[in-house]
Every structure is written in structure tokens, then in C-alpha cells.
């Protein structure tokens, strides 16, 4: 179909599968999607329809982009977790083979905001979401920023991209809870020392919600801005990825000080860490705009 502006502009494409491979505990899927690759900015995601053209699976899978490359006119590589998952949607993705087609929408969402000056950046990641940090690192380096990594996870297999981080980062710290890779410990425990050692001016993060919460809190303690991508929350709540359905909302403090429910897919996935009400995720805070209290306690 080429008769719609969105399709003509490449926002929605039938992308050809190039490879599906396992990377540690995760799967990486590379798709040929030139228009998406061309417009992609670090922090954006893609939404894949699963189950094929005749499928009645309505929920798109919103996945972080690891890298875009110019090969074959432009490719996009996404990373996801299918370990022990009962999700037939990611199971379908895992079983794709070269030349299969997948309906893809992207790039979607707001990207990471980039610093104007060549500052020291700390990139913190965990889970499959860490994948989103590597294209960011490239972009930051092109702007002559220094790039430091802090990656963590429960086990070695759960840490995505440790080697790439060693290679391209000015420094790379890896922590695992069981000590099977890098130092034993959690990102939260390691973060203050890494901030001090690297002299970070700004903190970027992507991954599981508890990690983002910790990063935002520590960054704020140090007086640093944090840009976090709510990758896991989006993956768990999103239905459409395009801002239509309102299923992916989380409470965030707006510029006017009022808490509003914002869409992770369309208003995020990259948000200011200090503005997200992490403790209230999965709730409607009583003081949020339009919270049930405003209805006279009726609901």
C-alpha cells in the first residue's frame, strides 16, 4: 500500500527480515526498512505487528532500536526478551526467517535530547533496553561528548552490550547481582561512584522501571539532568505505539507543576527522569489532573 501519506513517508512499512539472532539472553531482529533507518533518532522505538497479515493479534510490540545501518538501503535492528516468556507475539518474532515480512511502524516517540556542548555523558542501561544506548553513544561522540557506560543486570547473560560498551565508551562499568560479570552489585549501588569518577554532566538511561527510578533519584541528588527512556513500561503497557489508545499512561509533573497522565509512546518514551512520579507508576495519583477525587469521590 502506497496510497497514504504515512506509508508514502515510510512511517508504516512492510519490512523484510534480514536476520534473527540470539544475543546473550535476548533476541536481535534486523529488518530492512530504509525510510525508518533514515529518520531514526536515538531513543525512538519501532512498533511491530505480530502474527502476520491475517492475524487477529491486535497488540503491537514496541521495541527499542539497537542500531540503524546503511546496508541494503537502511536496516533497523531491534532487541527483545523472549526468555521464559509465554508471549506468543515475541515467539512469532523469534521464529521469523530471512526474507519474511513484518509490518513495522516507526520511528516512533520522542528521542533523547542532545546536549549542545561537548559534555561528559553517562549512559546507564539494563535489560534489553540497554540496546537503545548504543546509537545514542554514536551520536554523542559525533558531537564530541565523552561517553561513559554503566550496565547492569541480575546475571551476565542479562547484560546487553557489555563488549560494545568497552569498545566505544570512554569507560564502561558492568555490575551483576550475582557477580558473574563485572563487579557484584546493583546499578543503584554503583551509580554514585561512577558519577563521581566520570565527572558526568548528564545521565541518560534506558531499561527496567526500578533502574530508571534509581537513576533519576541519584542524578537529582547530584544535581544532574536525567533523560530516561521508559522502555520496559512501554513494552508492558502499550497496545498501539502510535498515541491512539491511551493504554501506556504514566504520571508526570508538567512544566506548570500539575501532574498529568502522559503517554509513554507518544509523549515519551524518553522523559525527564526528575519529572516522572516513579513511586506512583501504575496508579492515578490523587492530585493528578482528572484523578477520581475530582469526581466527588464517585469513582
Amino acid at each position: 500500500m502506497t496510497d497514504t501519506p504515512g506509508r508514502a513517508a515510510g512511517l508504516q512499512t512492510s519490512a523484510t527480515v534480514l536476520t534473527v539472532r540470539q544475543v546473550r539472553d535476548y533476541h536481535a531482529l534486523t529488518l530492512v526498512a530504509p525510510a525508518v533507518a533514515e529518520r531514526f533518532r536515538p531513543g525512538q522505538f519501532v512498533a511491530l505487528a505480530v502474527g502476520g497479515a491475517d492475524s487477529a493479534r491486535l497488540v503491537r510490540r514496541c521495541l527499542p532500536v539497537y542500531e540503524v545501518k546503511p546496508d541494503y538501503g537502511g536496516t533497523v535492528e531491534v532487541v527483545f526478551d523472549h526468555r521464559g516468556s509465554a508471549d506468543p507475539g515475541t515467539g512469532w518474532l523469534v521464529s521469523r526467517r530471512a526474507r519474511d515480512r513484518i509490518d513495522l511502524i516507526g520511528p516512533l516517540g520522542r528521542p533523547f535530547r542532545l546536549p549542545r556542548d561537548p559534555v561528559r555523558c553517562l549512559l546507564v542501561g539494563g535489560g534489553p533496553g540497554a540496546a537503545a544506548l548504543f546509537s545514542l553513544a554514536d551520536t554523542l561522540r559525533r558531537r564530541e561528548c565523552t561517553v561513559h557506560f554503566l550496565l547492569g543486570g541480575p546475571t551476565a547473560g542479562a547484560v546487553f552490550g557489555a563488549q560494545s560498551a568497552q569498545r566505544i565508551g570512554d569507560s564502561a562499568t558492568v555490575v551483576t547481582e550475582d557477580g558473574s560479570l563485572g563487579e557484584a552489585g546493583t546499578v543503584r549501588e554503583a551509580l554514585p561512584a561512577v558519577i563521581e569518577k566520570t565527572g558526568a554532566d548528564v545521565v541518560y538511561a534506558c531499561g527496567p522501571t526500578p533502574l530508571l527510578r534509581a537513576v533519576s533519584a541519584v542524578a537529582t541528588e547530584f544535581g544532574l539532568p536525567s533523560q530516561v527512556s521508559v522502555e520496559e513500561f512501554l513494552r508492558q503497557t502499550a497496545v498501539c505505539g502510535t498515541g491512539l489508545c491511551m493504554t501506556c499512561v504514566l504520571p508526570m509533573i508538567d512544566d506548570d507543576g500539575v501532574t498529568r497522565m502522559v503517554r509513554a509512546c507518544a509523549d515519551g518514551p524518553v522523559l525527564r527522569g526528575d519529572r516522572v512520579r516513579w513511586g506512583d507508576l501504575g496508579t492515578i495519583p490523587f492530585d493528578a489532573l482528572g484523578a477520581p477525587r475530582a469526581l466527588g469521590g464517585a469513582l
Binding site: T4, P5, G6, R57, T247, V249, G282, I284
Partner: protein, 335 residues
């Protein structure tokens, strides 16, 4: 060329494909994928008097051929809607059906009254699946009495000439009775169906999957239920125009609704999977009609109610190729 124009009471639509309430965002999100002018009409999410945050997450769970949602009718409230969303929609060259909801009959009427301030509302759809605070949170559309009261209040509040449509959910004992009551109360059309209530339990947490516990089931899973509702109501009220909806994902799905008695067809959750579903379904419907040598959409409305034997030429069920039928020319009008 197939004549796709259709009427919902006094409202004429260029084609029968409309968006379902709450499934097309503010319109801006869909407009990134196609020009809204290609729709028969755009239906807004249900607008309430006050801004409303809705339910906590998780709000959705995937189910076989569908999804369960407990959104809690989130929205900006009528003031922000009139200031921000409606003016933008009015510029899109598409009829706008504004869905309204309330916690009480008075609130429905007040929201509807505020719409009179603008000239850009093509129709008002009354979402009768909203929870009625005075009825332990059960929906207004559950019984003919409360449904009719709400419709009457909205009809009185809305300027004459702007049709009022009643949108009903299938979780009722006697849908035809509720529909009749709404029409008696002044509804010029019916929108069938809203989601039906369901439950999903998460085997990991051992708790309901949605924060709202139960939710509304939508998607292809409810299509047969929706078709049955349209068929029954059309049989009972053949002159009342119906917007049919419930799991429409293709042109043939839309055709089924038309044959059951729908004058227009709303596309809902299919938009989440495929934001360009509406123009695609329209094109497929047009093909399906011309494959069956039906020149006017209006001629197909309710065709399934004709007695067997009096059907257009037989064609293979999934596609084009007409084979010589046993019976009449498609153009032939029935008495």
C-alpha cells in the same frame, strides 16, 4: 463506480467507514497515516464535563482475537476539548461525531449543551456504557428506562438538526428493548456495539490482569456478537440507521455489518494494529460491493434479512468472480 454515500438520519456521509469512539486518538495521531477526509466521519473519544485521568495501568490485556481494556474513559474534559481538539478536527474536512458521556443524566446534557457553541459537530453519540453512579456504577444502557432518560436529556440539549445517536453495549438482557427506548426518546440513530465485559487473570501475579479488574472486550472476538445485535435491532427497527462496530478488520467484515443492517461501519481496535485500517477497509468494501455487482451501498443495507432465494448472483465467498446466479439481477428491487 460504486455509490458509497450513506445517511445517518439527517446526516449524509461520503462513505460508510467511520472511526469508533476512543480508538482514533484526538485525530492528529491518525492524520500522520492518512487524511481524515477519507473517512465517512471521525468519532471522538467520549467527552465528559471534567478532565478525567481514567484508570491506572495496566489498562489492556491481549486476548484471543481481541483485547480487554479498562480505560475508565480518560479525556481532557469538555472545555479543553472545545479549545484544543475540536477546532483542529473542524479543519480536517471530515464530519465529526462527538461522543459524550457523564456520571449523571445532567452531566450528559451539560456536555451536549456546551457543544451547541460550535457549528462543527455533525452528530452527537451518547455513550451509554458509562457507569451510572446512582446505579452502583452499572452502565446507563443496562435498562431501557435510564438509557431513555439520558437520550432524552441529550436530545433536548442538542441543537435541532444535529442528530443524536445512542451507543449501546451488548451486555443487556434485551438489547432491542433498550434500542426502542432510545429511539422513542429521540435518538435518530444507533451505534452498535460498545465493548462487552470480560476478565483476564494473570497466571504470574495470580490476580486480574487489569488494574480495573474487569474490562471491555473488543476486536474480532466480538464480531459475531456485534453482528447479531445489528441484525436483531435492524429487524425490529428497520428504519433506524445503525452504525455497526465490533471487530471490523477487513472490507468483508464491514460488508457483513452492512448486510445485517448497518448504514455505516465503525473501525475500532483494528486501528491499533493498523492505523491505516480505515481507508483500506473502505477500499476493500468498495471492491466487495462491485464484485457482487451492487452499485449502491444503500442497496446492500439489511440485505441479509431478505428471504433465501432472493439474492444477487452467487459468488465465491472470499472474492470477486460472479457466477451466474439462480435468481434475479442484482439491480432488481424487491417489493
Amino acid at each position: 463506480m460504486t455509490d458509497l454515500t450513506t445517511r445517518i438520519g439527517p446526516l449524509e456521509l461520503a462513505n460508510p467507514i467511520v472511526t469508533a469512539a476512543g480508538c482514533g486518538g484526538t485525530g492528529r495521531e491518525l492524520a500522520r497515516f492518512f487524511e481524515l477526509a477519507r473517512l465517512g466521519a471521525f468519532t471522538t473519544a467520549s467527552v465528559m464535563l471534567q478532565p478525567r485521568a481514567g484508570r491506572p495501568t495496566p489498562r489492556a490485556a491481549e486476548t484471543p482475537s481481541g483485547m480487554l481494556t479498562a480505560m475508565g474513559l480518560p479525556g481532557p474534559g469538555i472545555d479543553a476539548f472545545l479549545e484544543r481538539d475540536l477546532p483542529w478536527l473542524a479543519e480536517q474536512d471530515v464530519p465529526v461525531i462527538v461522543s459524550v458521556a457523564g456520571n449523571s443524566r445532567e452531566e450528559y446534557a451539560e456536555v451536549a449543551r456546551r457543544l451547541n457553541a460550535v457549528r462543527t459537530v455533525a452528530a452527537v453519540e451518547v455513550n451509554l456504557a458509562a457507569p451510572n453512579v446512582e446505579d452502583r456504577g452499572r452502565m446507563f444502557g443496562r435498562l431501557p428506562g435510564p438509557a431513555a432518560e439520558v437520550v432524552r436529556a441529550v436530545r433536548t440539549a442538542v441543537r435541532r438538526g444535529v442528530p443524536v445517536l445512542a451507543k449501546l453495549a451488548p451486555d443487556v438482557t434485551d438489547l432491542v428493548n433498550v434500542a426502542l427506548a432510545c429511539v422513542d426518546a429521540g435518538a435518530e440513530g444507533l451505534s452498535l456495539i460498545n465493548t462487552m465485559t470480560g476478565l483476564v487473570i494473570d497466571p504470574t501475579t495470580l490476580r486480574p490482569a487489569l488494574a480495573g479488574v474487569s474490562g471491555g472486550l473488543s476486536g474480532p472476538a466480538i464480531r459475531p456478537v456485534a453482528l447479531r445485535c445489528v441484525y436483531e435491532v435492524h429487524a425490529a427497527l428497520p428504519t433506524v440507521p445503525i452504525i455497526g462496530s465490533g471487530g471490523v478488520a477487513s472490507g468483508l467484515d464491514a460488508l457483513e455489518f452492512v448486510l445485517a443492517g448497518a448504514s455505516a461501519v465503525a473501525v475500532g481496535t483494528a486501528l491499533f494494529r493498523d492505523p491505516t485500517a480505515a481507508p483500506r477497509i473502505l477500499r476493500e468494501l468498495e471492491e466487495a460491493l462491485s464484485d457482487r455487482r451492487i452499485g449502491r451501498l444503500a442497496d446492500a443495507v439489511g440485505l441479509a434479512h431478505r428471504p433465501p432465494g432472493r439474492v444477487p448472483p452467487q459468488i465465491s465467498p472470499r472474492r470477486g468472480a460472479a457466477s451466474p446466479g439462480r435468481v434475479s439481477e442484482p439491480e432488481e428491487k424487491l417489493p
